[in-house]
Symmetry: C2
Subunit: 341 residues, 2 copies
DNA sequence: TTGAAAGCGCTAACAA
DNA sequence: TTGTTAGCGCTTTCAA
C-alpha cells in the first residue's frame, strides 16, 4: 500500500472517516480508547494526510510565497538575499508553513497572477527594496495577503518590517565624528529607494547635530553595487577632494569606494576612513576589513514571515496602522577607519 | 466575486463544467466558437484554476522540493547553495513547476516524512554532497522520486548530476605542472566525500602521468572550510615544507591556505602557487585573486531539476543506469600562481 | 462520543 | 462537439 487514506485507516480501525479525521486533528471529542487504537493504525500504516485534499476543503494551503520584483537571476548573487530567505524559511518551519519560491520566478504578470490566484499560496513575502506601485496594485488586486520587507510609507495599510536604517546612518556618522573627522562625504543608494534615503537621513541628522558640514557636493548617489561605489568615489575625488571619511549606503558600495581610493593613491584607513552598511560576509574579508553597520538580515526575514503568518491566522486582529517594530542595527568596528588629525 | 470557480464560468458561458475544463486545459475537443466564448468569460471574471483541486484529482502537485542534509542555518551561508537554488528555480519556472523550500528545514525524520508523504511534492532535489545512507533509505521508503546533486556511485539506481570533478582536479595539476612546478601538495576535502575524492583523483592521475611525486605527506585532509584550509596549510608547512604549489579542494580551503602561507611569511604567488576549486564570487576578490576551477553551479542546479522533472513526467523512460552527463568545468586563471624555477 | 452525508473545485470516463 | 456523472481525500455540519 503506497498511500493509505483516511478511509483505509477508518476501515482497519473499525471507525468512521470522521473519527480518524478528528484524531488526526487533535479534536478532543474522541474517546481515549478509540483515539489510541486509531493512532496505532495510523502509525502502522504510515498514514499522512493528503495536503491537496486538506487545502481544498480548508481553503488554505499553509504555504507562503516569496516574491521579488527583480529578476530571479540576480537575486541569489546579492549577499542580502540568501540570509533573508533563511530567516523566512526558519520562521516558516517554526509555524508549520511551506515556503514556495516559484512566484518570484514567473515574471510575467499573467504568470504571477496565475500562481497568486490559484490558492496555492496563503500569502506572500515581498522581498524587494524597490517595490513598484504597479506591482503592489497587482498584489492587492489578487486579494492575497502580503508583507513588505523594507520600509514603506506610501500606502499605510500595507504591513512591513524593516531594519532601523535611520539609526544606522546616525551611528555611522557619530562614529566617524567621534574619531575626529569633520569632512565626511556620503555615497548613498539610489534616490527613491526608501532604504537608501533613510540611511542617508540618519547620517545627515547626526552630522547636522554635530555642526559638521553636509553639502550637495559631499553627497553623491550610488546604486548599491561595487561598480557604482567605485564610480561614485571617483566623482567625489575629482570634484571635491580632501574628505577624511566616507559613509557608504551599503558594503558593496564601500568596497567599490575603497578600490577607487586605492586607485587614486589613497590608503584606507590612513588617508580615508570608510564605513559601510549591511555587514555582508565579504565585509570582513576585504583588505582592510570593513567597519560597517550590521543589519540583522536573517532576523528581518523571520520577522517578515512571522508577521505575514500572524496576519493570516488572526485576520483583522492587528491594527494595520500600528508602527512596525524597527529591527535594531549595530556598528561593527573593523579596520577601515582611523582617528583624524 | 473573489474567486470564481469552473462552475461560475460554466454558468455564465452557458456550457458545462467539463467544457470549461477542456478549454482551460487546451483540450482540442471544443468548438472554436465555444472556446472563444469561454475564454472571454474566463478573462472577464479573472478565473484561475484552483491548485489544490487540481492536485487532488490529478494526484500530482507540479511542485518539487529541495532537501538538504545539513542544517538549514548553514546552507545559505555557503557560497555554493544560492546559485544552486537559482538554477533549480530557473528550471522549475521553465517547466511550470513550483519550488518548495520547506522540507530542507524540517530536520526531524517525522517532519520530513510528513511533507514527503503528503503528496505536496512530486519529487525532490537532494542538494547535499554528503548524503547519509539513512537519509537515502528514508527517501526511497517514501516512494518519492528524487535526484542527487553530486556524484553518487553506491546505489546505482539513483539518478544524479555532477560536475566533472575528476577533470577539474586534472586541469589544476596540469596547469601547475605546465608552470614548471614539481613539488605540488594538495589539501583535499573530507575523505568519504565523493566530490572531494574525485577532485583529488583527477589531481593524482595528472601528477602521476607527468611523473611528479605524490605522497601521503603531500596530501592532507581539509574540510572545505576556510579554517580547515588554514589548519591544513599549517600542517603542510610544518611537516614537510618546500612545496612550490598547492591544489585545494575548494576555494574556501584555498583562501584559508593562502592566509596560513602569508602568516608563515610566504608570498602568494611568488613563494607558493595556489589553485582552488568552485570559483565562488569571493575568489576574484581576495588578494591575490585566486586561480581556480570553475564549477557551473547554476547549471548544475538546473540540470538536477530538469532531470527530476524528466523522471516525473516520463516515468521509466530513462534507463536508470545511463551514465549521467558530467557538467564541464573550466580553469579560471587569475593571479595566485606563478611559473616555477 | 460517534457516524452519515454533503461538498470543497476539479478532471476524466462514458454517453449522447 | 458537448454534457452527465463519479469521484480525488479530506473536513464539517447535523443526527444519533
Amino acid at each position: 500500500m503506497a498511500h493509505p487514506t483516511l478511509e483505509t485507516i477508518a476501515r482497519i480501525a473499525g471507525v468512521s472517516r470522521a473519527t480518524v479525521s478528528r484524531v488526526v486533528n487533535n479534536d478532543p471529542r474522541v474517546g481515549a480508547e478509540t483515539r489510541e487504537r486509531v493512532r496505532q493504525v495510523i502509525r502502522e500504516q504510515g498514514y499522512h494526510p493528503n495536503a491537496a485534499a486538506r487545502a481544498l476543503v480548508r481553503g488554505q494551503s499553509r504555504s507562503i510565497g516569496l516574491a521579488a520584483h527583480e529578476a530571479l537571476g540576480t537575486l541569489f548573487s546579492h549577499a542580502y538575499f540568501p540570509p533573508l530567505v533563511q530567516g523566512i524559511a526558519d520562521a516558516c518551519e517554526q509555524r508549520g508553513y511551506s515556503l514556495v519560491l516559484s512566484p518570484l520566478a514567473s515574471q510575467t504578470p499573467e504568470g504571477l497572477m496565475g500562481v497568486w490566484q490559484s490558492g496555492q499560496l496563503d500569502g506572500v513575502v515581498v522581498a524587494t527594496a524597490a517595490v513598484g506601485d504597479a506591482f503592489l496594485a497587482r498584489l492587492q488586486e489578487a486579494h492575497l495577503p502580503f508583507v513588505l520587507v523594507g520600509p514603506h510609507h506610501a500606502r499605510p495599510a500595507i504591513p512591513w518590517v524593516s531594519p532601523d536604517n535611520v539609526a544606522g546612518g546616525r551611528m555611522a556618522a557619530e562614529y566617524l565624528l567621534s574619531l575626529g573627522h569633520r569632512r565626511v562625504a556620503a555615497i548613498s543608494g539610489a534616490r527613491g529607494l526608501g532604504t537608501a534615503m533613510e540611511r542617508l537621513e540618519g547620517f545627515c541628522m547626526a552630522m547636522a547635530a554635530a555642526g559638521a558640514p553636509v553639502s550637495d557636493e559631499s553627497i553623491v548617489e550610488g546604486d548599491h553595487t561595487e561598480a557604482g561605489g567605485y564610480a561614485a568615489m571617483e566623482r567625489l575625488l575629482s570634484h571635491a577632494p580632501g574628505y577624511e571619511a566616507v559613509f557608504c549606503g551599503n558594503d558593496l558600495t564601500a568596497i567599490g569606494a575603497m578600490r577607487a581610493a586605492k586607485k587614486a593613491g589613497l590608503t584606507v584607513p590612513d588617508d580615508l576612513s570608510v564605513v559601510g552598511f549591511d555587514d555582508v560576509p565579504l565585509a570582513r574579508m576585504v583588505d582592510p576589513p570593513l567597519t560597517t553597520i550590521r543589519q540583522p538580515i536573517t532576523a528581518l526575514g523571520a520577522a517578515a514571515a512571522t508577521l505575514l503568518i500572524d496576519v493570516l491566522e488572526r485576520p483583522g486582529e492587528l491594527p494595520p496602522n500600528a508602527a512596525p517594530p524597527l529591527l535594531p542595527v549595530e556598528i561593527v568596528v573593523r579596520e577601515s577607519c582611523r582617528a583624524g588629525r
